[in-house]
């Protein structure tokens, strides 16, 4: 046996890996510092240091919330829920075909149709529903319709993206088996693909509905209906106790909708 062989020294990483790692961390820190300075060029620090006083002031005005204001909030709340629900329905109706066009294994043409579908998805996903609402209010005028369409447009990309990923993950053996019976393309979708993605579909739709409830509470800020209209009115008059009441209502709605969506997702899996 060799007795004079040097004991191997154990290194956590090789020298090059260590160096690369440090370089990565350093550039991340440098980037952050650089961004921080660029961002705060115009920041008036006097306002920032003033913030605790402002917060205390606003907090004082918010409390106690204007409980009786709730009488004027029921209808906007109903509108908010409708915007979210109808918008989700529109989103689902458009997203389902788009998802089938975008999924690698169901698209009619990988070269032409799929990129178009993916572009549609990323466009819808990139633009927040508030921006969609801003545009739509300018185009078709203020009101619930703009809100519903804005929520719908934003939901298309979200639902279609998650759904086409689910379609791409299906078990292909089941598709092959149904195809072997002589089924047509539509029948293959109905018998082999739809049953496999149905749980994902319900989960995604309800999840998006839950998000949409949250988003539709603010659409009114740009005139697209719902609680946001009341919110912007109260903010304009600096009626902070009314604002606080609206926050309470929003919080309640969000908690309920989250509970509903969690229950539905549990049920379908």
């Amino acid at each position: 046996m060799t007795t004079n062989a040097p004991t191997p020294v154990w290194h956590y990483r090789t020298r090059k890996q260590t160096l690369l790692g440090w370089l990565g961390w350093f550039s991340l820190v440098a980037l952050t510092v650089f961004c921080w300075q660029l961002m705060n060029e115009n920041t008036i620090w006097a306002f920032v240091s003033d913030a605790p006083e402002q917060a205390a002031d606003i907090g004082g005005r918010m409390f106690p919330p204007a409980w009786s204001y709730i009488d004027q909030l029921w209808e906007p709340l109903w509108d908010t829920i409708n915007i979210a629900t109808l918008g989700t329905l529109i989103g689902v109706a458009v997203a389902v075909p788009v998802a089938f066009l975008a999924a690698n294994n169901t698209t009619p043409s990988r070269r032409f149709v799929r990129p178009l579908a993916l572009l549609l998805i990323v466009t819808s996903r990139s633009i927040n529903s508030l921006i969609w609402a801003l545009l739509l209010v300018a185009v078709i005028g203020p009101g619930l319709l703009a809100g519903v369409i804005a929520i719908g447009l934003r939901s298309i990309g979200f639902i279609a993206k998650l759904l086409y990923e689910a379609i791409e993950e299906i078990d292909f053996n089941q598709v092959e088996a149904v195809r072997a019976t002589g089924a047509s393309g539509a029948q293959v979708i109905d018998y082999a693909i739809v049953p496999q993605i149905l749980p994902a579909f319900w989960g995604i739709s309800v999840f998006r509905w839950d998000i949409n409830i949250r988003e539709s509470t603010i659409l009114g800020l740009v005139g697209a209906g719902g609680l946001g209209i009341q919110l912007s009115a109260s903010l304009a008059t600096l009626a902070w106790n009314q604002v606080a009441m609206i926050f309470v209502v929003i919080l309640g709605t969000v908690i309920v909708s989250e509970w509903v969506s969690a229950r539905v997702r549990q049920a379908v899996i």
Partner: protein
């Protein structure tokens, strides 16, 4: 009368791998044909070429007078419905009920609308019930397919294939994920169904013992070429070496036979649970 005739069937994949090289044979009505060979010999490709789940590169496949290799679109689908297929991992649509899986054998016959509403004709439905009774699952028709055991799922797979009223049965490794006892039951079920209907079948199978026991004729495939074609009794050690390469066949058979029999009661017990 020959129901199925393969003539110089070849398949070369886009990667350049030759899976089948000029395979020719005929299958008469009512014959159960076992297809054996090592992994990668092209057994699975051969079966899938016949119903065109895989596109053959050259050659012809004649089933009852039509050349399947030339068909496209609706004509291909009409041809597929004449060929029943049973799969390796059952390939049932797991989230559909047993009944829907069996009825899906009629998809090539019914309109999209009827299949979408699950409104099948009385004949189709009563046939499905009768097939489920034959394979011993009359009680389970409303269960979801993923609630069944492996053996039960393969029975549903058999019922689905027979629901098609096929002229030919393609069977791809039907026992690959089943225990020895269930494997035998499944093979017996397929064999009986074929004899009863005078139905030819091509069974692609790993297990040489099972093949010998349950088929009328054996074709040995090696590297995409037919290297043996004869009765099961013709599978001598020399033939097996030609198909699979060198191995101590006599000892392996002895071991397998020895190991198999005493295991059966334990398996019985397991199925009882």
């Amino acid at each position: 009368m020959n129901v199925l005739k393969l003539d110089k069937l070849s398949k070369t994949y886009a990667t350049g791998d030759t899976a089948l090289n000029q395979v020719s044979f005929e299958v008469p009505a009512g014959q159960v044909l076992g297809l054996i060979g090592p992994s990668g010999a092209g057994k699975s490709t051969l079966i899938r070429c016949i119903n065109r789940l895989v596109e053959p590169t050259a050659g012809s496949i004649t089933l009852g007078g039509t050349d399947l290799a030339q068909l496209q679109g609706a004509a291909l689908r009409r041809a597929r419905r004449r060929i029943g297929m049973i799969f390796q991992e059952y390939a049932l649509v797991e989230r559909l009920t047993v009944m829907e899986n069996v009825l899906s054998g009629r998809l090539g016959y019914v309109s999209l609308w009827r299949s979408f509403l699950r409104r099948y004709s009385p004949d189709d439905v009563s046939k499905a019930f009768s097939l489920l009774e034959q394979v011993g699952l009359s009680q389970h028709y409303n269960k979801r397919a993923d609630a069944l055991s492996g053996g039960q799922r393969q029975r549903v797979g058999i019922a689905r294939a027979l629901e098609q009223d096929p002229e030919l049965l393609l069977v791809d490794e039907p026992t690959a994920s089943l225990d020895p006892k269930t494997s035998r039951q499944i093979m017996r079920l397929i064999g009986d169904a074929c004899r009863e209907r005078h139905l030819p079948a091509i069974i692609n199978i790993h297990d040489v013992m099972l093949a010998q026991q349950f088929t009328d004729r054996i074709i040995g495939l090696r590297a995409g070429e037919v290297v043996f074609d004869g009765p099961p009794s013709g599978l001598t050690d020399e033939v097996l070496t030609r198909i699979y390469g060198d191995e101590d066949w006599t000892r392996m058979r002895g071991e397998e036979a020895g190991a198999d029999e005493p295991r059966t009661p334990a398996v019985d017990l397991a199925e009882g649970i």
